[in-house]
Amino acid sequence: MSVHGLVLLGILFSSFVTGVAIFFLKEENHRTRTWLNLLGAGLKLILVAALLWGTYRGQTYSLTLEFLPGIDFALGADSNSVLFVTLSTVLWFWTTLYAVGYLEHSPNRSRFFGFFSLCVTATTGIALSANLVTFLTFFELLTVSTYPLVVHRGTKDALGGGRIYLGYTLAGGALLLLAVAWLHSLAGPVAFKARGVIQSLAAGHRVELQVIFVLFMLGLGVKAAILPLHGWLPKAMVAPAPVSALLHAVAVVKAGAFGIVRVVYDVYGVETASELNVLQPLALAAGATIVYGSIRALFQDELKKRLAYSTVSQVSYIVLGVAILSPVASIGGLVHLVHQGLMKITLFFGAGNYAEALGIHKVSEMNGVGRRMPLTTSAFTIGALGMMGTPFLAGAVSKHYLKLGAEESGDTWAVWILTVSGLLNAAYFIPILWRAWFKPPSDPHPAPGSAKRTEPPWALVVPPVVTALMVIWAGLFAEQPFSPLAWVKLVAQREFGH
């Protein structure tokens, strides 16, 4: 085991050990728990930075342990993993800070932060998996460690939402297991490799590979909330705000999308997949989800539900980018993996702040909220504008590449979908912004408080402001080195070899 392998292990353990340690802390040990949390998150950031730098300079990282007969438990860092691991680590740091502030006085905090850390361990594990079985392991670990977070409040609603979440994701996991096992029985152990590993089988096992691909998409599509499989996502909104933020921007939904990226690029390979005619249906499903999610979002009065349907729609941008056969589109899709994360986490931080400071849960209650919570609302606005595709913000960059790619590959319908969805995004975000900034506060707000400024404590304000700034940075400096876009171009180069 080399030092480089240890970096990978360190990235996993920095949150795993933290999580386990936190389980054993007494509820009252607020200070110790907070320090442990931040220590873990900080350490992980440093290690990921080292990984990023190393990978940039061409260093390879890998680590294998004996696992199943003939199959290793393998970790590695290619440019795809680095993209996802950086995203989740950076956002985890801010979410942890936010969660510490958010759950200040609620019960069962040790349990919460314990599972919170395990959840991030699983997510980084997914990012760093180097073969399918390892990926599956962390994918299931993610399901399991997120369940306690979803039902954290322990109310009837929460437990109900948790049950639905578990039902969907475990069924998806079973399909994924079947897909992995089946592919294994055809191809032997499958390690991820740029441009795919099963080209040689494509001729002899055409139908089987097609069915396996469908199974993969069904299994991963549950988490990525692709159209008929999205039912759990709005229900899981009962979770506390930091969990929703994590679920939508970093962990669960992203894990599904990232899995699809892996399977299409690094298991099947884009060329083989398109040869098997499996990408077109995937693109159509993604397109349908984009429009459907946006339309459903229009009719939600509950803020978090509106954001949830917006996620359903936005995550399929990633899938669409992957499924359209064009390097430019995949740049758009992959960069949206990062951009959507930044924007959506900002929005959820904002929604959480409204609920926490003023007891606002519905869009109809948001009149004049901008004047009372200017910092939060500014961050929220940047997130929303980004989602709509306003120029110079992150969302516009992804959409630009997606549209270019769709035109390049001749999928004009996709261009239309993106345009329509952009309009719909505006239709459900602009009313919120209008109410927040331009309508007079319709007092009394559900929660007591003066009509003056009532920003929540700094731990709740700093994270959305920081992530909003990142949204601007990712948009304004997209063409500079060290932006998400620059890295994604590197990935696309490897996958398409131009």
């Binding site: 389980f23 342990l65 004996e66 696992f67 199943l68 007969p69 003939g70 199959i71 290793d72 438990f73 019960p107 349990r111 079985v133 599956l136 392991t137 299931e140 670990l141 399991v144 306690p148 039902v151 954290h152 409040r153 322990g154 109310t155 929460a158 437990l159 948790g162 049950r163 578990l166 475990l170 069924a171 996991g173 079973a174 297991l177 079947l178 096992a181 089946w182 294994h184 029985s185 032997g188 152990p189």
Partner: protein, 501 residues
């Protein structure tokens, strides 16, 4: 090798004479057996199958003891679970606990009595198990099976109270009649072949109606004892009414004994008779067990009954070994897969029953409806229950996953689709009944949390340790598969299932 039988036997006898030293004697046994198993492991790894001729007589005349990969795995599992249960029991029987029924404190001497009775019988059970796994002929297997049955019944009766006693009585009746069937079969085989030694039987390659009748009788007796669906009816009451450490022993080890004999019988003595009809038949029963057991588990109102029905379901997986190991290709995978499941289930189920025992102790009942918020008062037990659940569901990296993965691969390689479906559905059903219990762990209770009970530490740590073991067992699966190859029957070797990368 003989030490594995003699050590627990001697201490069991001593424990009868000096009951106050039961705990100490169990400790000595644990150390000796642990060391002996480790020694055997080394020998096996370096020299392959080991045979010990008791008294130097040798097969047809004397008694042979034999260890191959399978036997060693069973011995290891028995030692592991035995040691864990013994640790747990030191405090369980010492502190005055409610057992089974929701009874108030009982007189001190009654508890002491129970403590006095438990240790000798426990050690005796251990003796019977070790002897069973070491036996190399079908008559000795009968003797050890009978010993095992008696020890198990007595342990169930230990709980006292009408429910436990009637369950024990039912268990006794079933166990005795099943043994009789088996013995009858052994008699017929001896009449037909003139030997009861496993290798000699295999060499004869006999067949014919009498032999089929004999095999039918033996198999019938064995599947009744192994509680294979639809002969599982005696298991849930017996396992649910026994004291927690006993439930753990029964579910983790005792029912695996007859399954082990079944494997020896079919794969070693009469492999030629393993026709597709026979193996698929076993598979159908196993599938029935998985579905029926899981659905029953979903419908139970009491925690221990739920766990007991889960045992019925999990035993079903083991029998999928037969259809998946008798075909061409992937036989080795199925063989090690099912046996890995066996080991993982032993750890997970013991953990679950011990955790359920803690819950029962603290809440005074085990009605699932009334368990709201039990994670507050018993966080470690709740954790143990959840982790054990992971292995039962078959989520990676647990031992349960490793086993299922191998079975799944064997089924896919052989194109036996129906078993693939059963494996996946079984996992989801298991998830449903585990989640049903865990949901209550997270239910929010108004007001202050129930006081955290001062349960002896060892009683909290033992189930957690076992559950962790079950979850991490997947990482040992490569080694276990290699071990199981030692002396594996021809069918399991036929298609060297280990795929090289």
């Amino acid at each position: 090798m003989a030490l594995l039988i003699l050590a627990p036997l001697t201490t069991a006898a001593l424990a009868v004479v000096i009951p106050r030293r039961g705990r100490g004697l169990a400790f000595v046994t644990a150390v000796v057996v642990g060391a002996a198993v480790t020694g055997l492991f080394r020998e096996l790894r370096d020299h392959g199958v080991r045979i010990h001729q008791v008294g130097g007589w040798g097969a047809p005349l004397g008694i042979d003891l034999r260890v191959d990969g399978l036997a060693l795995l069973m011995l290891c599992v028995t030692a592991g679970i035995g040691i864990a249960v013994a640790l747990y029991a030191t405090r369980y029987f010492a502190s005055n606990l409610n057992l089974g029924q929701n009874r108030p404190q009982e007189p001190k001497d009654e508890a002491t009595h129970r403590d006095y009775y438990f240790w000798p019988i426990f050690l005796f059970l251990w003796t019977a198990l070790n002897a069973l796994f070491l036996s190399a002929d079908i008559f000795n297997l009968y003797v050890t099976l009978e010993l095992l049955g008696f020890a198990a019944v007595t342990l169930v009766a230990l709980a006292g109270g009408p429910a436990a006693l009637s369950a024990a009585l039912r268990y006794l009746t079933v166990s005795l009649s099943a043994s009789l069937f088996y013995l009858l079969g052994v008699g017929l085989v001896f009449g037909q072949c003139g030997t009861v030694d496993l290798p000699s039987l295999a060499a004869q390659r006999e067949s014919g109606p009498a032999l089929w009748v004999a095999l039918g009788l033996m198999t019938g007796g064995l599947i009744t004892k192994a509680a294979l669906f639809p002969m599982h009816f005696w298991l849930p009451p017996a396992h649910a009414n026994a004291p927690a450490p006993v439930s753990a022993l029964l579910s983790a080890l005792v029912v695996k004994g007859p399954f082990y004999i079944l494997l020896r019988l079919w794969f070693e003595a009469f492999p030629t008779l393993l026709t597709p009809a026979v193996t698929q038949g076993f598979g159908v029963l196993g599938a029935g067990a998985i579905l029926w057991g899981s659905i029953q588990a979903l419908r139970q109102q009491r925690l221990k009954l739920l766990v007991a029905y889960s045992t019925v379901a999990q035993l079903g997986y083991l029998f999928l070994l037969l259809p998946l190991c008798s075909n061409s290709g992937g036989g080795g995978m199925a063989w090690s897969g099912a046996l890995m499941l066996l080991g993982a289930h032993a750890c997970a189920k013991a953990a679950m029953f011990l955790a359920a025992g803690n819950i029962l102790h603290v809440t005074g009942h085990d009605r699932i409806q009334g368990l709201d918020g039990f994670a507050r008062s018993l966080p470690m037990s709740a954790f143990a229950f959840g982790l054990a659940g992971l292995s039962l569901v078959g989520l990676p990296p647990s031992g349960g996953f490793a086993g299922k993965w191998l079975l799944l691969n064997a089924a896919l390689t052989q194109g036996q689709w129906w078993w693939v479906a059963i494996l996946l559905i079984g996992g989801l059903l298991a998830a449903a009944y585990v989640a049903r219990v865990l949901t209550h762990a997270f239910t929010h209770l108004d007001g202050e949390a129930t006081v955290r009970h001062a349960l002896p530490r060892i009683m909290e740590w033992t189930p957690l340790g076992l559950a962790l073991l079950a979850v991490l067992l997947g990482f040992a699966s490569d080694g276990a598969a290699r071990l199981l190859e030692v002396g594996a029957p021809a069918l399991a070797q036929a298609a060297k299932g280990r795929m090289e990368p």
